[in-house]
Symmetry: C2
Subunit: 394 residues, 2 copies
Amino acid sequence: MGELSDTNGSWIASKLPPLGIQLEWMTVVGDDLNMLTEAFKRGMTRSDFIFTTGGLGPTQDDLTREAIANSIGEVPIVQPEIVDKLKQYFEGRGTPMPSHNIKQAHLIPSARFIDNPNGTAPGWWTTKNDVTIICMPGPPGEMHPMWENEIEPTLRNIVDEEVTLTRNIKTLGMSESAIDEIISEYFGNANPYLGIYSKADGIHLRIIARAIDTETAQKLIHPVERAIVERLGPYIWGYDDDTPEISVGRALSDRNMTLAIVDSCTGGFLSNNITDVPSSSDYFKGGVISHNPALLRLLDVSTGDQLPDEFINPQVTEQLSEYIRQKLDTDFGMAVVGVLGPNELDGKPVGQVYISISSSNETRNLEIKLPPRRIQVKRRAANTALTELLKMIP
Amino acid sequence: MGELSDTNGSWIASKLPPLGIQLEWMTVVGDDLNMLTEAFKRGMTRSDFIFTTGGLGPTQDDLTREAIANSIGEVPIVQPEIVDKLKQYFEGRGTPMPSHNIKQAHLIPSARFIDNPNGTAPGWWTTKNDVTIICMPGPPGEMHPMWENEIEPTLRNIVDEEVTLTRNIKTLGMSESAIDEIISEYFGNANPYLGIYSKADGIHLRIIARAIDTETAQKLIHPVERAIVERLGPYIWGYDDDTPEISVGRALSDRNMTLAIVDSCTGGFLSNNITDVPSSSDYFKGGVISHNPALLRLLDVSTGDQLPDEFINPQVTEQLSEYIRQKLDTDFGMAVVGVLGPNELDGKPVGQVYISISSSNETRNLEIKLPPRRIQVKRRAANTALTELLKMIP
């Protein structure tokens, strides 16, 4: 019915290149035994590996095991030792095992169980006629650890093909075409391949190398990476899985420095991102979120001349970043003031944003003009503020 | 490579039930002519409709059109009037049409173009041997308007099958099994079907009815919906696409009331959600985000005895909600204090959360214990606070 978007597929897809497994097809199919069986039969004619998620639960519409048995013509038999394990799992939760869970203890001769410490559904690892079918539970909280602890290590031993290694380099502040020009000679090669992608947090460069092993792939990547870092240095804010808040968090933690904010533009988006990092309470001291004029009352500004009536402007933004830094006694103060919409404010259009970051010996002011879309203004204002802060952390 | 998760599939899937079209398969396949052709050929043997997104661009790896031509054995021919349209599109942007864009002006005899005012790639509507293939561009900003303006209205005229109508009813505060018991007689029917789903914002009930037209489907849904509302009334916080922040925003706007918060637990998540609603600046006056002890400094609490040393407790939470309501002169003050992790605080475990909501004539205090996972604590604390506030809005 479209209520959910599949994320398991892309998660698994991202794990395959380093194993040298090339993804060719992804199929999404309902809980129907005939359709599932057809999908398995077809997959077995064209692929060496089939990965599945979901359909391993105890209810009647969980049919992955039955479809595999059907496809390869084997009959599932109950495994007493798995029944015992399931009983223990339920006992540990203070409840007897419901009888329909016995379905999860069935196995066919060609299959073995894959341990699932995080749920009742064990995985299935089936090998028949040179095709390997690996079935994982649907919930990411069960699927991810099963992949990382059981499946990937085993696959690594089986496949001895080429590996694919990827390095992401993330920039903000330079346009795609400017970057394209500066490192043009590295584009257009097959190996290492260099891709360029425009994202909400800037322009990402991705180097992909294929080689017989990780070390050789590394050697292909290295000269390209070095050239990019040399030429784009100040614009680079992170690598691989970094987000702006992760990079900022690491830099602040490393130097034992702290941050406080006044957010009069992103409505909490900025601090929500910052606090997604588990260690953020060490360096993020919080701040105030508000829009003019409630903010003035909140900050206990007693003298009317300290902040002017016209609120959305660079001078006010700088005052606020200075104010919050002193108020919370942090190394950095940051203020983001702007127009989130839907209406203009103080004669400034939606998407107009001022950022000021202050430390005891430096203040940086930035003005950006973003497309007038609420969520984009939040996201891009926050990312720009964080990457700008990164440049100021010594 | 797993960099992107497909969201077009679920978006289209959500549009099909009201048209009476049942989704059976979804296939994701790379930019390979043989694989694409195979996918189309197979789809044409099993389905009445095939919807595609992507692969309509001007470059060599955009192969959707070629694969359809292959599958049904026709030859694409360039359409001069579309070449003119493309030239105009580029002229409007002050640049000549790149020659490779002529690829997008090709058509086979069985196909017609679908207008795309938001990009260079027109869609394709192909009908052959009773199978209809509808090709849309990949970017959601082009695909969604094409669906809504061109495709859905045409489909509505073609399909005269049953329609499926859905009604979601969203609750928080009662367990799945308690709800199951209270409305048990409505489960287990085929039409209207009643489903129950556990979500981050509570338990959702979904009534699905199939009928010859919308009105008849509505009549099937109505008695079930009425029974649910009668029996679960106080726990219901929204319907259909409502989120807690949308429901709260609507209620506050309707009554011209305002809200301010102290967030010492969700790290900005709460106010980020509130401010996702475009009209939120009318009723949300902002607040402070911080964790003890920076918060005390931020609030200018001068007397040490006003807030105790032990910060994570219900009395402090109540004081803070009262404080921010008066400070920002709002109708409601809300404070969320708790332990986000990774470490316990004031002897309280990760996931311990106190919520207090105050108005001039009422204060509600709530204590919840959540699983110790950072993002979940943020989300569930914020949702609980918002749905609790909803109960207090007169």
